[in-house]
């Protein structure tokens, strides 16, 4: 008998889908890097302790440079204050050798003050990767607090730029509500908080899309 119907046995070619550009890939082209910057986009040579091999650092944030003005002015005053001794000889009751040693001790303390303040600014960072949000805080000598939340656990992102100075220099706080152990992470005094909030929302959407596609890590 002749065949009435013959099923097609060749397998259809898989549809070629264009590789979706991730937020991290897009920001690669908008890289902002620098050793002393407070807002870094896809920075080179930045790694943190718990980073996975495939995890990419999207943003590294520090407090806005303006938050350092207080201790910088104090440091300048501390450096210049021994000049007052020429006008008001406060140490004249001490022998010369003790006066020299007092000055040396004063400058050592000033050096320690400047170094500690710089370290506190440089190492207190907020990191956003393509998978997580990490807040690293060093409160005092040897006391470290690391808070992190996976992006898919983020429930709400908002930001505040209160006050004249903060509005003028465009820095503020980004508040992140999470479903994790720590209900809220706060990125304090970071530059362009509105851009940070927008990026976080994009990463949240991307993470949701990855879950739907079954590509979530």
């Amino acid at each position: 008998m002749p065949d009435i119907y013959t099923a097609v046995t060749t397998k259809p070619e898989p549809k070629k889908t264009a590789k979706r550009e991730t937020v991290a890939d897009r920001l690669e082209k908008e890289r902002v890097d620098g050793a002393l910057k407070a807002y870094l986009v896809r920075p080179h040579r930045v790694r943190f302790e718990t980073q996975d091999k495939k995890e990419k650092v999207v943003l590294l944030l520090r407090r806005h440079w303006l938050t350092n003005v207080g201790w910088l002015l104090t440091s300048i005053l501390m450096l210049l204050s021994p000049l007052i001794l020429k006008l008001v000889p406060l140490l004249s009751f001490l022998p010369r050798r003790f006066q020299i040693m007092t000055l040396i001790l004063w400058y050592l303390m000033t050096l320690a003050f400047i170094f500690e303040k710089f370290l506190a600014w440089y190492f207190n960072v907020n990191i956003i990767t393509d998978e997580r949000i990490i807040d690293i805080d060093f409160y005092s000598l040897g006391y470290k607090e690391v808070s992190e939340a996976k992006i898919d656990k983020v429930q709400d992102v908002s930001y505040i730029t209160g006050g004249g100075i903060r509005s003028l220099f465009n820095y503020g706080d980004v508040l992140i509500q999470t479903a994790g152990e720590k209900p809220q992470l706060i990125f304090e005094a970071v530059p362009t908080p509105q851009i940070v909030a927008k990026l976080l929302n994009e990463l949240i959407l991307e993470e949701e899309q990855e879950k739907l596609d079954g590509r979530a890590r």
Binding site: L36, R45, V46, R47, F48, P95, M101, I104, L105, E116
Partner: protein, 80 residues
Amino acid sequence: MVGRGETMIEQLTSIDIWKIVKIGYLIAILLYIVFTIIVARQVNLMDRAVNGRLNDLLKIISWAHFIIAILAGLLALIIL
């Protein structure tokens, strides 16, 4: 007995006050040296937490800070 008491008073009043002040300065510098060691260890801890561009330089500065404190201590021993 009176002679011995007088000798003791003479000994007490003849103590050079600047030797006591020198000991005070040396204690202060010793505490400062301990502080510089803690700062150097703190920088190492921070470096492990976040590794950035300036980390190597900051580690060098922290140990240089310690060496400067040691030199200040030696200077105090010599000149005071």
